[in-house]
Point group: none
Chain length 214, copies 4
Amino acid sequence: MTKNSKAQPRSRAEQTEARRKAILEAALEEFGLKGFAMTRMEDIAAKAGVGKGTVYLHFSDKETLFEEIIKAHLVPVFLNPEKAPAPHLAPRVRFEKIFRSFLKSFDNPKFIQILTLVITEMPRFPKLAEIYYQLVIERSIALIRDLMTQEPPTPASRAIAEFPHLLIAPVLTGTIWTLLFSAQKKLDMEKMLTVHLDILFPETSATTEVQCHE
Amino acid sequence: MTKNSKAQPRSRAEQTEARRKAILEAALEEFGLKGFAMTRMEDIAAKAGVGKGTVYLHFSDKETLFEEIIKAHLVPVFLNPEKAPAPHLAPRVRFEKIFRSFLKSFDNPKFIQILTLVITEMPRFPKLAEIYYQLVIERSIALIRDLMTQEPPTPASRAIAEFPHLLIAPVLTGTIWTLLFSAQKKLDMEKMLTVHLDILFPETSATTEVQCHE
Amino acid sequence: MTKNSKAQPRSRAEQTEARRKAILEAALEEFGLKGFAMTRMEDIAAKAGVGKGTVYLHFSDKETLFEEIIKAHLVPVFLNPEKAPAPHLAPRVRFEKIFRSFLKSFDNPKFIQILTLVITEMPRFPKLAEIYYQLVIERSIALIRDLMTQEPPTPASRAIAEFPHLLIAPVLTGTIWTLLFSAQKKLDMEKMLTVHLDILFPETSATTEVQCHE
Amino acid sequence: MTKNSKAQPRSRAEQTEARRKAILEAALEEFGLKGFAMTRMEDIAAKAGVGKGTVYLHFSDKETLFEEIIKAHLVPVFLNPEKAPAPHLAPRVRFEKIFRSFLKSFDNPKFIQILTLVITEMPRFPKLAEIYYQLVIERSIALIRDLMTQEPPTPASRAIAEFPHLLIAPVLTGTIWTLLFSAQKKLDMEKMLTVHLDILFPETSATTEVQCHE
DNA sequence: TATGAATGAGGTTTCATTCAT
DNA sequence: TATGAATGAAACCTCATTCAT
């Protein structure tokens, strides 16, 4: 019988690495819950199950820890490869798949936490805005433009190629709604996004893919 | 001879009221700049030109002051009456006017400040979300629904009546973009919104109203 | 009957000033006792009878407080005007008076404290060395040189004019001895200084002034 | 093939002893540089090229390490046998040799370090004062008294026999001066000590031995 | 009513020391 | 024996809030 209940990390180096991970995890939860300024380093340490000083063995200070979290989670959360669907499909179908995959992420608490952080702390951390822009925004825009220019030009496809924001806008709006107002009124994001795509791509029917419901 | 150089409020009551206003004003700037947690009461007092204790004569504590600011600014900023255009116009034109008026608000620093506050602090202040929802969101949604149901049903009008978010989404997206990424890349919100309306209302031409450029 | 036992400071400003003095006093004692690094700001506050934060109202940080103490005490302790004796006396007599007056200072605990501080902390505070040099050393040397060059040149007077250190050396040695080894062996500094002056000014007799023993 | 490049100490005991020496050496440098309180055990370990825990294998705690350093260096630095000159020489010449040898020590950084430590930390470490007194002071005084009482009694020799401090005072003064004010003004200690001895021993000429300049 | 000096709880960070490897 | 990751007591400093004037 081993001492540790989960996946016994025997070696010293592995234990240390596990602790580092635990701190990042705990810090994400705490920061996501209370924001940067209101989070206490001691609470992070406690939640990670380590001593107060241990946090400083891995991260030189609070701000560094914060940045590391963002860096560690930004790409995995927003741009994981499974979101890129097979290239032979029609754009509408591909976007639908991407959106659905995005919506599924909402079941992942970490996703909500990192999203909240990014939105609420960005104005006070210009560095964070810079990182986020380069890692997520720029790539997403490039991806959308790339997809749209491969298509026969319709009014909508030309509009989206110029302003990819228009494609994403309802996703962002729904996200923020969910973040802020889920207590007031739920929003059926899946339905909304279908309607949204119906407007942008009137020639196709959303029902084609509806059966793959979950 | 009066003490104050501008608009001398002689009576005691007027002076007190003026001080209260000054504190709210100063607090908005400071909160908008640094966020709730990082703003110091002393800085607010200094910027308002009053003593540290005076703030507590008007607001029982920091959190109360914060809520008062939001309440004081939310309606004037988001729902000022001039934004409601003449009812005889076509919906597309009316939305265009509302959007344009909204865009003009970006020149007002107070607008940016209150917007930043609402977005960044809402997740930590559920009460704030509640207030904001009732004062701004609910009304806006009701207004849009009302406008759309008066119209002959097109696919787009039906979609918007169901999900008014779809109409507003690009405005929100553009707003957040401007708030976060104006340092990275400017966004031509006016053009984007025109394109957006062109998609939703394909039968009308944006050019109709373009000359009222401003 | 008043509340405060000593000199009741009624006005607000006076109270504040009194508190500042109390902090300086307490800090001198604590620093003198334990040295800069080992002294806790909280202990200073407690000894001064004020809250922890009050210290920071008067001195921006620990180092500033330390420097202020040195500046506040250096001149009063080392160069008070009563030490400058009547100019009509012979140099030997004048030095004897100066030395005696210096020795009397040892009864003043503040003198011991500031002396200890200056000696022990100077190597870690070059700024302190600079201040001390300008305020105390330079003036003392200039004074001695001035006195000696007014005299008929003897071998000793010429030597002292060139190296005023030679006149002061036994004082410093005795001071350090007292500071460090008073627990091991007392030193009769008064007698030692008399012998010292007898060597430097062999033509005069020490007995002249011995009766004014205290 | 040995692990260490210099003076390969093969045996386990030798290695351990070498490590102990390295720690003492490193600790002296660090303590001398920053003082007891501001020196970090980790820096000592790093400078000694050993792990943080290794220090504690040799010295039970920081204070013990500090005392060991003093004990280890005090006698070698202040009372090395080469300073005791041939007994057939005149006292003035012997003192001059001793002084000169002492002055040469200033080229040795270790000497400066231990000196700084002794002066600055003694008031906080009574134990240190005790050790220093017994190992250095008492012996020095006994030596001087011994030398002087072997001489024909002159006024100066009698004075020095009673107060050996008078002989040493300029050396101490010059030492402290060099330690504290070398940045402000250099002091020609060699010349000063010659002048000093000229005063104490007027019958002899300093020039007798000047040729053995270096 | 208005002030700002005073307070002390609470936050971040450091570092001597321990102990499993 | 040697290591350095881990710990937590303790230090400095901030700032929301109070209260005497």
